[in-house]
């Protein structure tokens, strides 16, 4: 960023300027800057940017037919650019994939897996949940006719399972609703008592204290005289009420000390991981397929591995090899946008400037593993009342187990379903990727059996499929992130581009790493940068 003019950023788009402001000054600074332009957040992110120029027939080569690459090809073609995607693999979608019958996953140096799930069953082994606030992702689903459905991200009925914390819950699956409400109940009790005893008098006014106590009492969690947390309707019943004189029996809270031994797990909920999220009906890959359908067939060249990229002041020449027949081709363009994962891009022979080459290195690839485990009975629904949601564990390399939100009650394609059997990310996923496919399945089964004893192994169909993203040749990571130092020092260098070469994808959205919205909005921000360049330089 230049520092010659603080009010109007030169050489940067509004978006990139705001991102930089945000990194330095936080949200408040961004809001101040936005108010200066009389703009709000929403209009910025819920549709592609307006571009000031038409593309004037400029040719743009895009590396990678993932979400970012296809968004770029689709949107820039609409504006009069000639766009051509070069893709190393034989399919469109990149990491936006689902495995179903016939899908193939082949990791570097590992055995090839072919998915053999029953018809209708699938696992999203790439992105798997969309929060309401990711308007950009929802925009494409809506405009491309990709149906979305609710993805249940949190249900009280799923479990916390901790075997590495001492206490009475060690190795015992605990319903999340019980642990969560007990934590809230005891917190309410303690707060009400200290407020009542005057311990907050230095912190809040008398009037606010009265209001606080009123709300705490109205929560129904504590009795109104002693303020003790006790059995309540929020926690539910141990014996269910029914007709006639069956009023049921309220369940008794756990002891406070026991609840404290696990309650911190309930903090795993953020605005972008709310209880109700969304997924594409039939598999998240349908979003990628929607974008693919919106492109002309000739806009994606498959099985093409980049070998060399040479740029000069007039354009860029790309050389690539057909991975099936070895044929080498070259193609020239005015601009090149790489959406290749940075670990993959690093292997390409490109004459980048020193600054850009250094900027790319201020990032990291995040390893991630997933497994889909198929069952021939939805025991979690019928036995445990679990309909979607996530069970959390503290088993290294496991982290979570997620129940399917599609085909609820077996109403779409019968009494069958696929559980996401584990999903470790970062370094803890690497030991899992050391396992053979059979060992990975056994690991998933062994953990599942602890949470659902007597059922998990019993109803396993024998079919599973797993991925270690850091071992996929053209991904080498689940997603990429900027290092903390890189965010401030290197991201602005990357975002303005290097002469004729631009880098896009989720790495162009530092705050949205690993999200589909990161790929889409990253693509949008790159379009704006190129638009401005073309407007200035032709």
């Amino acid at each position: 960023m230049t520092d010659t003019d603080n009010s109007q950023p030169s050489g940067m788009t509004k978006r990139s300027f705001l991102q930089s402001v945000g990194m330095i000054g936080g949200t408040a600074a961004v809001m101040t800057a936005l108010q200066g332009w009389e703009m709000g957040f929403a209009s910025e992110m819920d549709r592609p940017p307006e571009m000031s120029t038409d593309g004037k027939g400029k040719k743009v080569i895009i590396l990678g037919a993932g979400l970012a690459g296809m968004v770029l090809a689709f949107e820039m073609a609409k504006k009069g650019y000639k766009t051509q995607i070069i893709e190393a693999l034989d399919y469109a979608g990149g990491r936006c994939v689902s495995a179903r019958k016939g899908s193939v996953i082949e990791e570097v140096g590992s055995e090839k897996q072919v998915c053999n799930f029953q018809d209708g069953n699938y696992v999203n082994y790439g992105p798997w949940r969309i929060p309401a606030e990711h308007k950009s992702t929802i925009y494409y689903c809506r405009t491309l006719g990709v149906p979305l459905e609710v993805m249940v991200n949190k249900t009280g009925k799923s479990y916390y399972y901790y075997e590495n914390k001492e206490g009475p819950f060690k190795g015992v699956p605990i319903r999340q609703e019980h642990a969560d409400i007990d934590f809230k109940g005891y917190s309410t009790e303690l707060l009400a008592k200290v407020a009542d005893q005057g311990a907050l008098d230095q912190l809040i006014s008398q009037e606010d204290k009265e209001m606080l106590l009123t709300h705490l009492k109205r929560s129904g969690l504590i009795d109104s005289k002693e303020f003790n947390y006790r059995a309540n309707r929020a926690r539910g019943h141990s014996s269910y009420p029914g007709a006639g004189t069956n009023f049921g029996k309220l369940s008794e809270p756990y002891e406070m000390a026991d609840v404290l031994s696990i309650a911190n797990a309930s903090r795993n909920e953020t605005a972008d991981h709310p209880a109700v999220m969304f997924q594409a009906v039939g598999g998240m890959d349908q979003i990628a397929q929607g974008l693919k359908r919106a492109l002309k067939k000739s806009q994606i060249r498959y099985n093409s591995e980049i070998t060399d990229i040479v740029q000069d002041d007039n354009g860029v020449k790309v050389t690539y090899k057909n991975t099936k027949n070895g044929r080498v081709r070259s193609e020239e363009a005015d601009y090149l946008i790489s959406t290749a994962p940075l670990g993959v891009m690093q292997k390409m022979n490109i004459n980048l400037s020193e600054d850009m080459a250094a900027a790319i290195k201020a990032t990291s690839g995040s390893p991630a593993c997933k497994i889909g485990v198929e069952f021939n009975h939805r025991f979690w629904e019928q036995n445990d009342m679990i309909y979607g949601g996530v069970t959390s564990t503290d088993i290294p390399g496991h982290r979570i187990l997620s129940y399917p939100s599609g085909n609820l009650f077996g109403s779409a394609h019968g009494d069958t379903g696929v559980i996401l059997g584990y999903y470790p990310i970062g370094g803890q996923s690497i030991p899992i990727s050391n396992l053979s496919m059979a060992e990975r399945t056994e690991f998933a089964l062994s953990v599942g059996e602890k949470i659902h004893p007597g059922n998990y192994r019993k109803y396993f169909t024998g079919e599973s499929i797993s991925v270690a993203w850091h071992k996929m040749k053209y991904a080498l990571a689940g997603w990429e992130n900027w290092s903390r130092r890189g965010r401030t020092r290197s991201f602005p260098v990357m975002q303005k581009g290097d002469n004729r070469i631009f880098i896009s994808g989720n790495i162009a959205s530092p705050a949205l790493g690993g999200w589909m919205a990161g790929a889409i909005e990253g693509a949008w921000s790159t379009m704006e940068v190129i638009d401005k360049r073309v407007a200035q330089q032709g």
Partner: protein, 133 residues
């Protein structure tokens, strides 16, 4: 590995049997960390895999500037992950000294103080929400 032990023992000066035992444990721990966290990509013996995962054996970067290598482990580098959240700070020191002094690599060793200084600069405050997409 021999040089590594010699260096370690020399540094420790009046080394006792106890110290020697610790040194051995140290290297065994390095080997275990390597197996768990590095071998999936960089392969047994630091051989690397084709042109996809670089060999660590005879690797200029590994044997070069130690500060760069420390930051690489803490922050990652393009496709390479960061291990700041997954390994303890002393384990990070151990694995660096292991790869710099294995398979014929004979780079100098880094100290815990050097790692701690970089770690303190890079580490972010835990926000309590944990990772995840």
């Amino acid at each position: 590995m021999k040089n590594y032990f010699k260096l370690l023992l020399a540094l420790l000066g009046a080394s006792t049997l106890m110290t020697a035992a610790n040194a051995q444990d140290h290297s065994a721990e390095g080997a275990q960390i390597y197996t768990d966290y590095c071998e999936a990509c960089h392969q047994i013996g630091g051989e690397g895999y084709e042109d996809i995962y670089p060999a660590l054996k005879d690797n200029e970067f590994v044997n070069g500037d130690k500060e760069e290598l420390i930051y690489l482990l803490l922050e990652g580098r393009a496709g390479m992950p960061t291990f700041i959240s997954d390994l303890e700070v002393d384990q990070l020191t151990t694995i660096i000294n292991y790869i710099r002094n294995s398979w014929g690599n004979t780079a100098g060793e880094i100290t815990q103080e050097e790692m701690d200084a970089a770690y303190d600069e890079i580490a972010e405050e835990e926000d309590g929400f944990g990772p995840g997409n």
